[in-house]
Amino acid sequence: MARRITIDPITRIEGHLRIDVEVDNNAVSNAWASCTMWRGIEKILRGRDPRDAWMFTQRFCGVCTTVHAMASVRAVEDALKLEVPPNAQFIRNLILIAHALHDHIVHFYQLSALDWVDILQIPKADPARTSKLAESLSPWPRNSRNELKAAQDKVNAVAASGQLGIFANGYWGHPAMRLSPDINLLAFTHYLQALEYQRKALQIVGMLGSKTPHIQNLLVGGVANAIDFDSPSALGMDKLEQIKILLDEVVDFVNNVYLIDVCAVAASYPEWFKIGSGVTNYLAVPDLPLDTKAGAYDLPGGVIMAGNIGGAQKFKTASDPAFRESVTEDVTHAYYQGVKPLHPWVGETEPEFTGWDGDKKYSWVKSPRYKGQPMQVGPLSQVLIGYAQGHPLTRKYAELALSKISAIAGVNATPAMLHSTLGRHGARAIRAAVLGELAQKHWQLLVDNVAKGDLNVHNQPVFPSSEVEGVGTHEAPRGTLSHWVVIKDGKIKNYQAVVPSTWNASPRDQSGAHGPYEASLLHTPMARPDEPLEVLRTVHSFDPCMACACHTFDPSGRQIARVKVL
């Protein structure tokens, strides 16, 4: 007899997500993903000046601000066929990468590591032995016995106080927790260090974008940064050198800490390479444009269907016709009016709340589909598509990660193992390493271009009175983001954002096909159904971000995360 478990909301994510699973014989037999808050913010854009849209879209989500700003200006530029000067491309690319590195580091350490790391095992670790182990894995200088001991002392103090503070909600001692005390200590030490490096990444965003969390330097047609190597207030060599120092520090952390930790944790949980694959259709768009026309990119895009890595298709541009023409949103199981799947340019967002009903409507998230198929998006898609197309940097870091895992676990790790919960974590770390190396490249491209005397950062947009349509894409930390705009008489007629978490968190569609979260949970083993750690591991591996709705601070504390077992 199947038991129904409701987790509402899923904790340690951004925003509201509810997961329902049926558990039969200690494994998940059915699953539903629902977003519990309505987002219909796109409506706010109708009638507005397209040049202002990015400032509003930047507020869609407080965590993914930059990515929505960038997708918006790209959508308007696509509609106008407006070229973007090389300096502006490089500055934008650097901002996007710095944001992504920040986001990936936060996700692994602050949002998901505690699914795998058992804090209460840390007091049993031996810092000297841990330091020796760490030195065998990485040249990172901050793995000394003293640094590890200091981190262990923090945990000891928290445990002794009886106030678990930030750790109050973990499933400590759960039978699915299996890291050695030493690896637990190592990962926790880096949890603390990660706070410093993610902050450095944000500083880069702030230096290039004037402010964080909301950058100020974008314009439709380029950026507003004044470039002048002789003026201290403008973007000059001094500031660029500071940015390079920060960037190198973050890249060092990614390569020598984050990537290594993911491999070490993964090597301790090899069974999680067999759990959580779900939808094996993958989608990613090209990103990091290298020229004004956005005809060449440093990151590849395309699709893989049914896990067939050898049969990957390639997108030539970030608004490739194959992508533009193939996206629809289905509302069969979402709380919206409408019958047929609609293309985003003619998309509607008219709410029709009917209450949670797993057979009918049960989520505020629509179901985006590519040629009618559910697609997984995110770092795993990015890495598999890059790997399939022989993208050299993706291959380099994917092979590095797989060989590390093989060496630590004594197994033969292959790319096929990446279709899994741990594969998503591994791919995110691989992607971060690829992005770090590309940030260094784009920093140099910017410096070299300016050194040639090109100071242009902006092309003026010109709006036709006729109706034009555009799509702006960005391969964001959580995957393919697309903003779709229709402009008439210089004003926005329609605007739709198809965000990465919509692809991944989508409910079933008209054919009954599960969205990626749902599909990935099927067959997941559960040791203790009332402590659904395994479900959280898989859901967190997607890096859910549902922060799309308003919610205010509630001092009564009445909104308690709950797990309900029926």
Partner: protein, 188 residues
């Protein structure tokens, strides 16, 4: 050494009264100048990114809409203990409330937490999609601003009224959908 004080407006400017925190920040920036060490920011809905903004600060003053059952427009002050009273149980529940307690706890773990924390809470009236504030929230903003300045003074921070105040209208309200102007229309 001057105290490092961060004053942050929290909330989404696209969701009615949730934008009251950023609105108070705009009023502060337009009408006051602050001394060394004081940062005034519209932080939006930063989630855990709040950690980056509060780490290493001596004091934190946040202005945010609250859902506390009081009548709309009520201003209520919360100290660190009030915010953490219910522990981190609402961990990562929504765009910003859990992030507040969680961010404070993470910063504390890292030894980077501000000594003084004040949340100036404004009970909102409506939170539907829209870029304008209710009358209740707009009225309360003046009181929230006064509470913020009083806290700055209590902490020993300096501020003074601008002799030439800036325009305090906000971009999200100033660019209403129906009066967008200055378009570059051609017949191409």
């Amino acid at each position: 050494m001057k105290k490092k004080i961060t004053i942050g407006g929290i909330g989404s400017v696209l969701l009615g009264d949730d934008g009251v925190g950023p609105y108070v920040v705009r009023l502060l920036e337009a009408n006051y100048e602050f001394g060394e060490g004081i940062t005034v920011s519209d932080l939006g809905t930063p989630g855990l990114d709040l950690v980056a903004h509060l780490s290493g600060q001596d004091a934190l003053i946040l202005i945010d809409s609250v859902d506390n059952g009081a009548s709309p427009g009520t201003v209520t002050l919360y100290r660190r203990a009030d915010i953490l009273k219910h522990g981190p149980s609402p961990v990562r529940m929504d765009p910003h409330s859990p992030a507040l307690s969680e961010s404070l706890l993470i910063a504390e773990l890292a030894g980077q937490n501000p000594d003084e924390v004040l949340l100036v809470g404004i009970t909102g009236h409506r939170y539907e999609v829209g870029t304008s504030l209710s009358h209740a929230a707009r009225r309360a903003a003046t009181q929230a601003l006064a509470e913020t300045l009083a806290e700055v003074a209590r902490l020993g921070g300096h501020y003074r009224k601008r002799s030439n105040p800036q325009d305090s209208s906000t971009w999200w309200e100033a660019t209403e959908a129906n009066d967008s102007t200055a378009l570059l229309l051609t017949n191409s």
